[in-house]
Amino acid sequence: MERFKTHIKNILKIIGFALAIVLCIYFIMKILCYKDETYSKEVFEDFYKLDKDTVDVIWIGASPIQTSVNPAEIFHESGISTYGLATSSQPICLAPYLIEEAKKTQSPKVFLVDIRMLAYTSDLAFEPVVSEKYTRHVTDCLKPSINRIRAINHMIGELELLEPGSEINRLDYYFRLGVYHTRWKEGISLFFDEGDQNSFMGSYAYTGVIPIDKEESLQRIDKGYGELTGYNQKYLEELLDYCDKSGKSIVFTLTPCCVDQEFFDRYATIKKILNERGYEVIDFNYMVDDMGLDYSEDFSEFMHLNYKGSKKFSDYVAKYLRDRFELRDHRLDKGYELYGTEYKQYEDYLLGKDARN
């Protein structure tokens, strides 16, 4: 009996110690968590804070969505609730998993999927779009779930396809301390991370200004067709296969840009494929006059709108989406307080910008 009691006591001690370690690791992971300069963490943190079934439109894309679409501004303008599940250079292959993730807590009337990244295989710094870095912007911010495991497995498959024979350590995607524990070098500032004042529900503002020749840029639209590079054709077809089965209302978009002819040609090809497969594409490049976009001061560079362009785009999209999809005004409804809070922060940001200007 004594021996049995001793055994039980020892087992309980081992379990207790193991639990203490797990708790410590949990707190360490909370402090040394994922962080990047393009506010990917904030995109998902704010998304998970939203009340259930309060979002009318979920917009999936990459940095053009992050910088152009301001959910707080849209809500303020028309009362429709939108959210951008978009991160920097987000691979389009992650779109189905983001739609599945959104479906867990939201029932939007429509999913918008921006096609900008389908014309690219690398970003502005010539780093591959389908890469561990941009994959982790999403997978490291998703809550643990089967959907997250599926997203990781799918992306590892794509990465192995791009670099056959490369050794990808799957465990690093689950035990993220392997990647982020070196953040200890940031010191005491780790404990005082209050988020970034320039991020509004995942959307953030570019401040640069590059004047662009509007006529010359608009002339490039739908001039011809170009071949999709890399595996983008495959990614598009897989995405459409998913959309066919999803049973959800999915519409594709192309946000305003001033890219080179070869990219506009690729967009023309993508739009053609989408139309042939029965999907609608809203090309906002045809609506720049209605938006009031000023090409001399509203673009940060050829890819992204700056904070001025973003305000105009968000204001236009607010009314466009409301009318196009017959969305309700929620400004007096409960459960949308986060939009109000974020808008105040955004207003202060804009005031600060204008005062400096």
């Binding site: 001793t6 001690k13 203490a20």
Partner: protein, 510 residues
């Protein structure tokens, strides 16, 4: 499979559960199966067959010798059989590891007389642990020949002992008489073994991931030809520290894993930084290798008839004191040559890990009267802490100097390294922050320093009592706090994850 990988610890967990679930009499079978699975997971099956072949030879020879001894056959025949067994094992070891040394040096000799050369470079992957299990098998053969134990009749039990999986990567080199009861008798599940084993593993992982692997990029950078003057000496010292932390960490993990099974492996380190001379250093560093070469190289050489005859002659000619030393020095030369050669079939290892120590030790013995005279002249108190500290620092510097040869790719690179070290006098590099440009910034250096201070504190405590015994006397809250802090230190400050390869222990390459 690296012994600091998650897969290894999952493997150990699986083996541990299987070990204690099985009845005591069958637990050695779990070890046997674990050994084979570990070999297959860590290398290709063909190399495992080489290891099994060596063990079959050892088993066969030991049993033949046992039969011959029982039939009281000719001692010369028995010795011949044992010698065959030892030579076969050595041939397999040399063939896989050191053959290119012989080819290259033969070519160098041939080149003196002609332009012809042996155009052959053999590039073979050596079986996992061949350097370690070969010595273990030779020790088994010799000890069984000397009648220290009853020969093992069960070949599977012999495989379970020789290929004992925790020791395959980096030792320690085992002795059959010490290990057989631990491996074959099946050990009781003891809470203390689990706790102490886990604590030892955590300590090893701390030294490996926080200190050794953190120093690695800095040490590699110091080898660059751009680094001159004090950079070279800092690099040499850091390499010595990295080697010590790496190898001792490896031993901690291996001994800790073995302790989980209740199997006590011999210690390979006994705070070598406390050594006051090089002889003592090698009694504290890689202890099992030192004991092996003493018992199977040094002593047989000293007891051989030719050396004994020589000893008598030298005593007559040089007197008792110096006459006794000559045979000992011959024995030491053979011993240190074997130590260096075992580490690697290149002159850098033969000299750096072997003959350097021979030269230093013999030199200190020859100059002993001079040192004694100096100490007397300067009225140095040799028992004072200052003198002891000076001796320890001096010993560590000499050790670092020796292994700088094995740090270099060749003897000429090693001499070039030392030449660069003395080419420039630049003490300012210690203060102007230039050292932080070579893979380790100021924060990393602080972590290394903190880690070394923790290791030093533990070493000081270890001089009187086992640290784990000291900690076990505290209440559970304090005990848990110490190990939780240590584990959190590893998690936060350890060098692991993307971009790091913590798997390669330096001594695993031997």
């Amino acid at each position: 499979m690296s012994i600091v990988s998650v897969y290894f610890f999952l493997f150990v967990l699986g083996v541990l559960v299987a070990y204690y679930v099985m009845p005591k009499c069958c637990r050695w079978c779990v070890i046997l199966i674990a050994n084979i699975v570990f070999c297959l997971l860590s290398s290709i099956w063909k190399l495992l067959c080489i290891a099994i072949l060596s063990i079959v030879v050892t088993y066969g020879v030991s049993n033949i010798v046992d039969v011959l001894k029982k039939k009281e056959k000719n001692r010369k025949l028995i010795a011949f059989c044992v010698a065959c067994g030892v030579i076969i094992n050595l041939i397999i070891l040399v063939a896989f590891k050191e053959i290119n040394f012989f080819i290259n040096n033969t070519n160098k000799v041939i080149s003196i007389f002609s332009d012809n050369q042996i155009q052959l470079v053999i590039d073979m992957v050596a079986p996992l642990g061949i350097s370690y299990y070969t010595l273990t098998m030779i020790s088994y053969l010799m000890d069984s020949y000397w009648g220290l134990f009853e020969v093992q009749k069960n070949p599977f039990k012999l495989i379970a002992y020789i290929l004992y999986f925790p020791t395959l990567t980096s030792g320690p080199i085992m002795r059959y008489s010490d290990m057989k009861s631990h491996i074959y008798d099946g050990n009781k599940l003891e809470y203390k073994n689990i706790c102490y084993g886990a604590q030892r593993i955590v300590w090893g992982i701390f030294k490996k991931l926080v200190i050794a692997d953190r120093l690695a990029p800095f040490v590699n950078a110091m080898q660059s030809e751009q680094c001159e003057g004090l950079y070279v000496f800092v690099g040499v010292i850091c390499y010595a520290l990295q080697l010590y932390m790496d190898f001792s960490a490896c031993m901690d993990i291996i001994i800790g894993v073995s302790e989980l099974f209740g199997i006590k492996l011999p210690e390979n380190f006994n705070t070598p930084l406390y050594a006051t001379n090089l002889s003592e250093y090698w009694r504290r560093w890689h202890i099992t290798l030192g004991l092996w070469v003493r018992d199977y190289v040094m002593n047989p050489v000293l007891k051989s008839k030719s050396i004994q005859k020589l000893g008598k002659k030298t005593k007559k000619k040089l007197g008792k004191k110096w006459g006794k030393r000559i045979p000992v020095w011959i024995g030491m030369f053979c011993t240190w040559f074997c130590v260096g050669f075992w580490h690697g079939g290149t002159w850098t290892f033969i000299f750096g890990s072997g003959l350097f120590f021979f030269v230093m030790i013999v030199g200190s013995q020859i100059l002993e009267p001079v040192w004694k005279w100096l100490i007397k002249l300067l009225h140095i108190n040799t028992k004072s802490i200052v003198w002891l500290t000076w001796q320890r620092i001096r010993t560590f510097i000499l050790f670092s100097a020796s292994i700088s040869f094995s740090w270099a790719a060749s003897m000429s690179d090693a001499f070039a390294l030392w030449k660069r070290g003395f080419s420039v006098f630049n003490p300012e590099v210690l203060f102007n922050g230039d050292l932080f440009q070579y893979g380790l910034d100021g924060q990393d250096m602080l972590i290394v320093l903190a880690g070394l201070l923790i290791v030093l504190a533990v070493s000081i405590i270890q001089q009187k009592e086992s640290v784990r015994d000291v900690i076990s006397k505290y209440n559970i809250v304090v005990r848990w706090a110490i190990f939780i802090v240590l584990i959190c230190f590893i998690i936060v400050f350890g060098t692991y994850g993307k971009g790091y390869n913590a798997g390669d222990f330096i001594y695993g390459a031997f």
